[in-house]
Symmetry: C2
Amino acid sequence: MNKLVVTDTQVSAGIERALQITLRGADELLPQDEWTRKLQRAEATGQPLRIKFGMDPTAPDLHLGHTVVLNKMRQLQDLGHTVVPLIGDFTTLIGDPSGRNSTRPPLTREQIEANARTYFDQIRLVIDVDKAEVRYNSEWSDPLGARGMIELAARYTVARMMERDDFHKRFHGGQSISVHEFLYPLMQGYDSVALKSDLELGGTDQKFNLLMGRHLQQEYGQEPQCVLTMPLLEGLDGVQKMSKSKGNYIGITEPANTMFAKVLSISDELMWRWYTLLSFRSIEEIEALKAEVAAGRNQKDAKVALARELTARFHGGAAADAAEQDFANRSKGGVPDEIAEVALPGAPLGIAVLLKAAGLAPSSSEANRLIDGGGVRVDSAVVSDKGLKLATGTYVVQVGKRKFARVTLG
Amino acid sequence: MNKLVVTDTQVSAGIERALQITLRGADELLPQDEWTRKLQRAEATGQPLRIKFGMDPTAPDLHLGHTVVLNKMRQLQDLGHTVVPLIGDFTTLIGDPSGRNSTRPPLTREQIEANARTYFDQIRLVIDVDKAEVRYNSEWSDPLGARGMIELAARYTVARMMERDDFHKRFHGGQSISVHEFLYPLMQGYDSVALKSDLELGGTDQKFNLLMGRHLQQEYGQEPQCVLTMPLLEGLDGVQKMSKSKGNYIGITEPANTMFAKVLSISDELMWRWYTLLSFRSIEEIEALKAEVAAGRNQKDAKVALARELTARFHGGAAADAAEQDFANRSKGGVPDEIAEVALPGAPLGIAVLLKAAGLAPSSSEANRLIDGGGVRVDSAVVSDKGLKLATGTYVVQVGKRKFARVTLG
């Protein structure tokens, strides 16, 4: 992680603070002195800096890990700079031209725009989309034409391309690389030229591509952008990177109660990491909270505050209040205020069939296993008889600590 | 060199002959059985085959070495096939996009067309340009667009590109290769797709690029072209490849007398090689000539016949007759019929100054060396006195065996 090293002694308090905000939680800022000069120029001229953030319009279902970079954009937006979310529609319209990767079918213009809308509906809870300059890279990529592509490709060498980690490994590991794969980082870098970007944000795994933008801007006679990499967020387990496939994630559209409870489940150490990377609280506020905890305040208070902040961000203050109350109730073993209402026909119904039909168990056999384990309650009483049949009426059915449904049999 | 290996036993005499003509003097025909099948189909359907020959519209000054491939096209044209000279204007319009190679400035459309005209004025003495289908590759390269370039580049791997000899050497020798250099062979190969080429001709040094066309046609779902490589012609010395820079060439626009005399200067062995690669005579005629020489006829007769044929091709029969007569005169030590007429003022003139002024020696000091060597004659008499001054009058001045001028001093 970067340390705050101010190379220019004539830096104002405002610039120093902006630099601190830039560096908060960041992995690398390259080169820091150029960023300082850009900040100084912006302050002197009143001309905001341009912050590029590229995104692929294919996977609009975001989790908190994706919001780390968005948060940084929000912080820079709050400093008065122009955030430029860039939708990489050009390559998405092409899909995988080798036809070998069926997970990347070409998308239509309509699909891309629908994905972008879904995306912005989600990210507008983190950044101010209305103040952002949203761009699509097909705007300048198509007009490049075949000649522009050749001219662009002339700006980089094969040897440097091979230095990219994945290309290096694949080439020397005998795995094939198609020639067009060398064109993608060039196109992505050219986006920085077209946008006259001052800073590009990305994950640490994007560093090669971000530096390409810097290189190409110099090739095309522009002041090069700086590069700011953000770490990948650790998931609920505190060890692995947050990802859907690992199940250690919080989706930003997950219900308020779930989101709140999941935040409460993380370790104290991970909580402070999340404060740095996810909270909108200032560095000073977080330091004050840490001091309180060091002075004896319960870590859980800080965790509840984080859970409230994140839940409120995505669901509003009232939902966060309710989620907090719900979590407290369940912690005491009570039934949450709001639980799913399920109406099922065909009473009397066997308990295993009911659990499956109400979505409380994935299958009847799994339902039976849960009963055997003593994890199923009907109206607070543990069910021990797998043969139990329930007649017409309404029951609160509970599986484990957190799954509830109010089931009405008819 | 390929041997005539007919893999299909059901081949007609006509096909066998066409195959023989294809293989005459060739280095490689790949794959021969596919070419046989194409010839058979052409014979069966009456549909001529399409013979692609790419050329760079930058160097329109041709020597006999360049005509080896043209001759092969002529032979295939005589068999009824369609010759497609392809002018690679697309990359020429771009020039060297890295700006590092000043020897490849971008040419304008007008310059390219002027070069092409000069080119066709020269090659129409070898192939029937009016029957050929002349094409410019910008016709389909520009419409490819940025997307088409990416789709094209997806059809080939970096590893296979690296197998090309010059790329391999440069990469492993630490010399830089720009990414756009990988696009050029792809563009060239795509020309075969656009032209639906059946056969591509080129020098042995072009084999990689020719096979690229074959590969890409398969990728784009076409019947692939065959590839025919022709050797590089040995120059006057019989050892080095003919080239301008080595001075061992015969330019196809050189004067008839020079051309004739240069052909007569080659070795007997080289003469038969040139018969194979340059003569329009049939294989049978050449075999008959060889048999006559074996039976005692003078090799020089065969060489005169070759010199006549080539001189007549580029200058017409009458000029060839005159060149033959001129050569015979000079061989007997006589003065050729047509010699340069030079009028010089300032008589009396020193012999060394005169030789330089008349273009018979590059400098006065070189003129003096020639006199010392006994290589200078005035009106047939060897000059031994470097101090000789010539008064007003007309003199035949000779340097060595072949340089003459009729100098009138005033």
